[in-house]
Each structure stands twice: as C-alpha cells, then as structure tokens.
C-alpha cells in the first residue's frame, strides 16, 4: 500500500479528513538550528555572567556566593530547560528552529503535549553520546522520518514549514513538433509518482549543468523506453515529450 515517496515527507490525516504531507527536516537543517540555539544559550550564560560579575563588584561578600549559586542554577535551567520552555511557549519551535523554519509536531501532525516536550528533550542526554550528538545523528540517518532517539520515545517529528511558490505553468521549449509526438503513444502509461518525478525534474532543468541533466535523465529514460517499447534520440527531450503526452500540459496553448 505504502509507496516510497519521492521526497522525505510524512503524510498526515487531519480532522477535516484531508491528507497532506509534511516535509521532513533533515539532519543538516536541524544541526544548523541546533547550532543557532547553542549560540543563543551561550549568549544567555554570558549575559548572566556579566550581570553576576557586576553584582559582585557592586557589593557585599555574600552576594558573590548568591551570584555563583544563581549562575549554576541558571546554567542548569539553560542546559535542561531551554528547549522545554521554548517548545512549550512557541508551539514546537525554538529560536533556532524558527529561524530555520522548523517545527516539532507529533507523528500525527498535532501540537506537542508538555510530556512529549519533556521526553524528547531529556533524551538529548542519550542522543548527545558519545560526543556531538553522534548517536542521535546516526539514529536519525537510518530512520525513514529522521527521528533521533528523543523523537522516537516522545512520538514526535521535526518538520519543515517553508512556503512553496506557485510557479508558472511548465512550458517545454522548443515546443514539441508533430513529428516528435507521432512516435509516442497517445497516452503513455505513467504512474502518478513517475509523472511527479518527471515534472520535478523538468522544473529544475535550469539548475543543472548540461552533463548533470543528461546523467539524471539517463537513469530514467532507458527504463521507460524499454517498458513502452520506444526509442529516443535525447533522454531529456524524451522525458519532456512523455510528460507532455501524458498530461496534455507543457505548451502555452493548452496549459
């Protein structure tokens, strides 16, 4: 039943009975968000230290002890409480996550409960082992939806909330000639996922170098050609024509 998705997504069914997919956040963006949060926390501790030092200069002997105690307690709060507090207040985000447009949600796409926030963040103590979140990243890398141990225990996902632009309709240039189309079947048999992959590929053509474009197309075109018993002269062109035939899209006139 479950088809492997083209992108790293998690499908969610809402109370409105609409299924939509969340784009999952991969290790790279999560590490970037974590680094930002680390900086914020370091900054907080530095501010506390400065405040403590000023307090110590200003006055009584006992105060420096109070300052040190406060500093350690704050250090504790920043180390263990930072993410718990922010993810509670900011509906699954922290400063770094908001900057990277990430959000933590439950596996069914709902907002987190406090218990889940506590669990996923306490488990950092294991994910961080042996150094630099090595275990967490390792676990994340082999999980289909990029969960670290804390996410697995709490039942949470980190999703990406970037908005997508509505693009111009795809136009195949130069326009397909009748001669080219003549050799193709009226309705090539392409599964929706295959069409989706081809459309994504065609939309990204201007991002690839010529060689890369060929390389990618050569991975797919022969398979499709063999299946349909067709020949082609240029793999990229072949994919574009197939797409046009299957969807009737890709030319200005009938887009």
């Amino acid at each position: 039943m479950r088809q492997p998705a083209l992108d790293t997504i998690a499908v969610v069914e809402t109370p409105e009975h609409v299924r939509f997919s969340f784009e999952l956040a991969g290790p790279a963006r999560r590490i970037a968000a974590y680094t930002l949060d680390l900086l914020v926390r370091a900054l907080l501790m530095a501010l506390f230290a400065v405040a403590g030092a000023l307090g110590g200069l200003a006055g009584a002997e006992g105060l420096s002890g109070v300052g040190a105690g406060l500093w350690l307690a704050l250090g504790f709060a920043v180390e263990w409480g930072y993410f718990v507090l922010l993810e509670s207040l900011m509906n699954g985000q922290s400063v770094g996550k908001r900057a990277m447009r990430l959000r933590v949600v439950t596996v069914d796409g709902r907002p987190l409960s406090f218990a889940q926030i506590v669990l996923r963040n306490l488990l950092r103590a294991t994910d961080v082992l042996p150094v630099f979140y090595a275990l967490g990243v390792l676990v994340m890398a082999q999980d289909r939806v990029f969960r670290r141990l804390g996410d697995m225990v709490a039942g949470t996902l980190v999703i990406s909330e970037q908005s997508k632009k509505l693009e111009e309709p795809l136009v195949i240039t130069p326009a397909p000639t009748p001669r080219e189309l003549y050799e193709l079947p009226q309705r090539p048999e392409l599964a929706p996922k295959e069409l989706e992959a081809i459309e994504r590929f065609l939309r990204r053509l201007n991002l690839y170098s010529g060689a890369r474009e060929l390389e990618l197309a050569e991975m797919v075109a022969p398979l499709l050609a063999r299946r349909m018993g067709l020949r082609y002269s240029h793999p990229v062109r072949f994919l574009a024509l197939l797409y046009h035939r299957a969807t009737r899209r890709g030319t200005r006139a009938n887009s």
Partner: protein
Amino acid sequence: MQTRDEFVAQRQARWDELERLLLPDTPLYRREPRVISRVGALYRALCSDLMRARSLDFGQDISDHLNALASRAHNALYGPRPFSLRAVSHFLSAGFPQTLRRNWRTLAIAHLVFYLPLVIACAATMVDRRFALNILSPSVLESMASAYSEGFDAGRDGGVDSAMTGFYVYNNVGIAFRCFATGVLFGVGSLFFMLYNGLTIGATLGYVSVSGHGMNIFTFICGHGPFELTAIVISGAAGLKMGYALVATHGATRLGSLKANAPELAELILGAATMLLIAALIEGFWSPSSVPPPIKWAFSAAASLGLLAYVIFAGRGSQRAA
C-alpha cells in the same frame, strides 16, 4: 472542465489572504476573533482546493504550494493546550503517586540496583579503606573527608548556601536525568549510571566514616537524602521501564511499545524532577545550617515518613488523570 489557469485565478486571492494572515509570529489565539474565524474558514476552503488540485492533476507545483500552506495553517489552528495550574496540582497530589504505585515492581528493582552497590561499597570501605580507591581517586576522597571534618556547628553564610544550592541543582538533577535518558539503550545506561552512582556514594560515605567524620556526613545528608536518593532511584526506574518497553513489547512494535509507555515515563521523570528541586533547596539551606543534629534527624524522620505516606496514600480514590 476547469483549466489550471481558471482554477488559480479563481482561488489565488483566498490563498494569498491566508498566507498574509499566517505571516505574523503571534499565536493565533492571541489575535482578533475575526482573524481566527477567517483563518479557520480559509483553511477549510484550502483543504478542499488541495484535494481538487490533486484529483484534477493541475500540476505538482500547485499541490506543493497548497500543501505547504495547508500544513502551516493546520499548525497555527491546532495550537497546543494551554498551561493549567489545576493539571499541575492534580498531578502532584494524585497522578504522580498513582503512577509510582502502578510501577512498584520496577521501582523495587531500581532500589536494589542503586542501594545494593551503595551498601556493599560502604561496608567494604569500612572494612578496608583501600576499597574506595578502586572507585574514586585518593584526592577526591581526601577532600571529601576533610570537607566533613568540621561539622556544621558554625553554619555557613548565606552566600555559600546559595552557591551550593546552585551546584546541587546542576549536578544532582543532571545525574538523575542521565539515569533516565540512557535507559533508552535497552536499559543498560540506567543500570550503569545507578550502579556507578551507588558505588560512588557508598564509597564516599564509607571513606568519610572510617576517617572518623561519619556522624557529620550522615547528619548532613539525612535531611535531603530521602528526597534526593529516592528521586534518583525513580529516574533510574523510569529509565529501566523505558528499556524494558523495548524488550517486552507485548506484540507491538518496539516503537509502539515505547509510545504506549511514554505518558508514564514523563510522569515519573517530572515527579522526580520536582523532588530533586525540593532536595536541592533542603541541601543548600537546611542541611549545612547550624541547627543541632537531633533536630536534623527528627526532621529527616518526619520527611521520610511524610514521603512514604505520600507514596502509599496520596491520590487513592481519586480518578486517574485523563
């Protein structure tokens, strides 16, 4: 049939309006009622647009755009439950002790795993003080012994008290949290940290005792010990429970079993954290004070009995929290 362009032209204004309304970072519930209900209406319309765009196959970019917008609107609309003081007080007065009683077996095992090595290390060190050197370095042991050579008749000044409270919070709560968190490695981490902490504490107690300051250190820890050691054991028990959930899955997948156990795990660790906070306050301000030892011991006895009564009786007859 509607073409893609007609579809987009007809709906785009609504999509853009929703996009604009979602732009501010303030949570939705803090905004004007008009905005909230408008976002709700636009979201529902968007959901049907999304279905339509998919079924009529207007192209991947439309589905992607609507999907991204829908997921953001969804997250804005389905906000988290607000914080409630009543839930906290119910948890502390009933939920936590109920959960402790339901998990008495795990707790009993955790007590053994922690106290057995503690007692053994303490006894072995009392018999032969060189035993402690297997566990801790001589310099640490010596500094512990000299720290407790004075006693607390003179008390400590308030500044040092606060400093030490901060240190205890930082250190001990960290120990307890690690006892819990490493349990996800099939319980091995929790076992290791409980054994290790049991041995360390036992060896220290034994070493300070043979150095002749036993009364001082026991009087020092008698006030906060009941809270602190129990909380560490509860954290470890939660870790063991987490590890056991991965092994004994009762027919579920390992992750499913973990998920089923997660609410109780969170209750155990949150309760333990509360106890550790209480312990740190006692440890920072009461334990090192110049209050005469008999009163400290009386306080300790009362606290222990109170804790025991809490664990056994609190929240009986009260409904389980939903």
